[in-house]
């Protein structure tokens, strides 16, 4: 499922309890705005990733509602406070309904 947009997530491998760390994410996607015209002058249909979420276990950490103004290959960085070890789940939702997911464990010492 995830292979289509090739999600890449960068975060520290080891974290100290209480530390606030940055999570950087980027995926491959044209983010077709619906404003662009093709060679024949026809508007190219909108197709974007419209939602991004990051959960820690079942808890929401961060969410982004993305609009056509977001540039191709959307890059989003945000932060999280390390309280305990667990699994982060990242999800990108496409206009076509596809949800691309990626899981990454974090170890907090």
């Amino acid at each position: 499922m995830s292979s289509g947009i090739n999600p890449r997530v960068r975060l520290p491998e080891r974290l100290r309890k209480g530390e606030v760390f940055e999570i950087r994410t980027v995926v491959s996607h044209p983010m077709e705005s619906g404003q662009r015209r093709d060679a024949d002058g026809r508007l190219v249909r909108r197709r974007i990733l419209n939602r991004f979420t990051c959960h820690f276990g079942a808890s929401l950490v961060f969410e982004a509602q993305l609009e056509p103004a977001v540039a191709a290959n959307p890059y989003i960085s945000f932060h999280m406070r390390a309280e305990e070890s667990g699994v982060l789940t990242f999800a990108w939702t496409d206009d076509d309904g596809t949800v691309h997911r990626l899981e990454r464990p974090i170890t907090v010492t």
């Binding site: 705005s33 820690f56 929401l60």
Partner: protein
């Protein structure tokens, strides 16, 4: 009390100019997001004053907040007043985040004012704005 009201009034006056000059859709959006009571401050809107490529404009938004359960940023909206659609992105934060800062890359069709509106857990609303000159516009071209 009077001091606070004066600050709010000054902020409203300061914001009246650009917000009223904005296209109708952006003006309506900003009115809805700010509920007419957003104050200037607490948000840092990091975007270059001059960008060459409107298809790839890095934006860093951060809000001054302790991000505790009782006092945190709930939502943060990014508005580009002269884009075909004024709302560029909306972010939801939680206390788990620890820090209210987000980086994103957007398209700007033309030179314009970019706005950020933050909604805090206590219901207060804050706004920041920055004017950006775009050499080659984004949105409608390739890329």
């Amino acid at each position: 009390m009077a001091g606070g009201a004066a600050v709010a009034l000054a902020a409203a006056r300061m914001l009246a100019g650009p917000a009223q000059a904005a296209p109708a859709e952006a003006r309506r959006l900003l009115e809805r997001l700010t509920q007419g009571k957003a104050k200037a401050g607490r948000i840092r809107l990091g975007v270059a004053e001059i960008v060459e490529n409107g298809n790839l404009v890095p934006v860093t938004l951060s809000v001054d907040s302790p991000m505790t359960a009782g006092d945190h940023v709930r939502r943060l909206h990014l508005v580009a007043e002269r884009n075909p659609q004024a709302l560029a992105a909306s972010f939801t934060f939680t206390p788990l985040g620890g820090k209210a800062e987000v980086q994103v890359r957007i398209r700007l069709l033309d030179s314009q004012t970019v706005f950020a509106v933050a909604e805090m857990s206590d219901g207060s609303l804050w706004i920041a704005e920055k004017s950006v000159q775009v050499t080659v516009g984004g949105c409608t071209g390739s890329g």
